[in-house]
Amino acid sequence: MADVVLAGEGLGKRFGGLVAVRDVDVDFERGEICGLIGPNGAGKSTLFRLIAGIQRPTTGQVRLNGRVLTGRPAHDVCVAGIAATHQIVRPFRELSVIENVMIGAFFGHRPRPHGPRAAREAALEALAVCELAERAESPASALNLAGQKRLEIARALATRPEVLLLDEVLAGLNPTETDQTLHLVRTIRDRGTTIVMVEHNLRAVRGVCSRIVVLVEGRKIVEGDPERVLADERVIAAYLGTAAHA
């Protein structure tokens, strides 16, 4: 029996007349790197936000280790153990890199560090994993995009999540940066965090994910082993039909 750490049951989300996500059941197993893909407008980001607690589902439940988290405010979701990065990076611009990460360390999943010094150490650790330790004292605004994305990840990592949700973390990165980020993702998983990635970069997803879930028009149409899923006719049709890149 799979060890399900995070589960979405019957999740649905309507915006007025538009149904973005329709009756999606999805289970994420502990320790996996799971990819969430689909053509543009498939509802991936919405589903992501429902699971991350940023938006409240119209129907359905989100459970972490069996505990219902649906509808709880974002900060409670983080403290419970789900961390999310944003598609458009949102660093705390006027704070330094390490201060950014310290905030994650201070306020995440318990047990929390006592006092600034402990938080700083925890932050340095997260920065080291993300290879940002040398830039610790720089202002966050001074990093380039790849750096800011890594900062975003470090910050989320510092909250000691059980599940880390990454929203299009590879967007805008060149091939070298992409490989570095994928390496980082694997490292984080090896340290014990389950990872869910929403992605458009199918080549990357094939390389790093142990499982893929495909969303089309708000519904889950197939999930499973990356090779099998990406070769599935329905998936190919969905992507080619809407002229997305692969």
């Binding site: 309507r14 915006f15 007025g16 007349g17």
Partner: protein, 272 residues
């Protein structure tokens, strides 16, 4: 007949604190034009609107533009500074004495179906409604109007679709300030005023915006009417000095009960 006043407040749709300053300035300039040059207050807007538009536009180009990139706090503080300057400049120039405009027009009343209606109020109501209407049409039907709305929503996206954002911002600001001046001019017909004038009104405007939701002029009109009704009731039951509290109490109640404002909540309900 406070509907008319409320509509004026609505026209101003204040987010910009400095608007209060220009509102007040509009009133004063009207008075000044009247007493110094004997220009009839009804004509004053002909001078005020273009002048204020230019001032607003210039303000945007010189000052506001510089702080666009920084934290929103900064632009708030900038406009607050502008308002401070305006208000105290008015104190210095015109002193804190209460001023009012007195012409036969202001005193006139008209008989309509048995009711004595004050002509200025009628006038203000009509003008207010007209301006709202024109503004609504402008924002929805003209290219410039839509460009302004687009820029307000997302500056970068607007640039991407080819809108000259710099020009638009200047114009939008100019319009906002011109409207404030015009509003002040109209209000000078109804009330006596001191340099503090803008402040109480800006609060009401703000209440209207919260009540009616930010997005639409219809919402603003709706909010104006709601507030006017609340005040009309208040006049009957409360001592005069507490009347300014009414808008505030309404605001607090609405905020606690309906965080999205009335229009926002209605929208959400309609969506199901």
């Amino acid at each position: 007949m406070s509907y008319g006043l409320a509509l004026i407040y609505g026209v101003l749709k204040i987010i910009n604190l400095a608007n209060a300053g220009f509102l007040m300035l509009g009133a004063y300039v009207t008075w000044w034009l009247f007493t110094s040059f004997h220009i009839h207050p009804l004509l004053a807007p002909l001078a005020i609107v273009p002048a204020f538009f230019l001032i607003g536009w210039a303000l945007e180009r010189t000052l506001v533009r510089r702080v666009l990139g920084a934290e929103p706090i900064i632009s708030l503080l900038l406009l607050f500074g502008v308002w401070l300057v305006l208000q105290n400049l008015a104190y210095v120039i015109w002193t804190g004495d209460t001023r009012s405009i007195e012409t036969p027009f202001v005193e006139a009343t008209v008989n309509w179906g048995g009711l004595q209606l004050a002509v200025p109020r009628l006038y203000v109501f009509v003008m207010g409604a007209l301006v709202l209407l024109v503004l609504q049409l402008f924002l929805t039907r003209t290219y410039l109007g839509r460009a302004i709305r687009a820029t307000a929503q997302d500056r970068d996206a607007a640039r991407l679709v080819g809108i000259d954002v710099d020009r638009v911002m200047g114009i939008a600001f100019g319009i906002g300030i011109a409207l404030a001046g015009f509003g002040g001019s109209l209000l000078s017909l109804l009330f006596s005023f001191t340099p503090d004038f803008g402040r109480a009104l800006s609060l009401k405007s703000f209440c209207i915006v919260v009540l009616g939701g930010l997005d639409s002029i219809v919402g603003v009109a709706f909010g104006s009417i709601a507030l006017a009704l609340a005040e009309a009731f208040g006049v009957r039951y409360m001592p005069a000095s507490l009347q300014n509290l009414i808008s505030f109490v309404v605001l607090v109640v609405v905020l606690i009960a309906l965080p999205k404002g009335i229009a926002g909540t209605l929208k959400a309900l309609r969506r199901g």
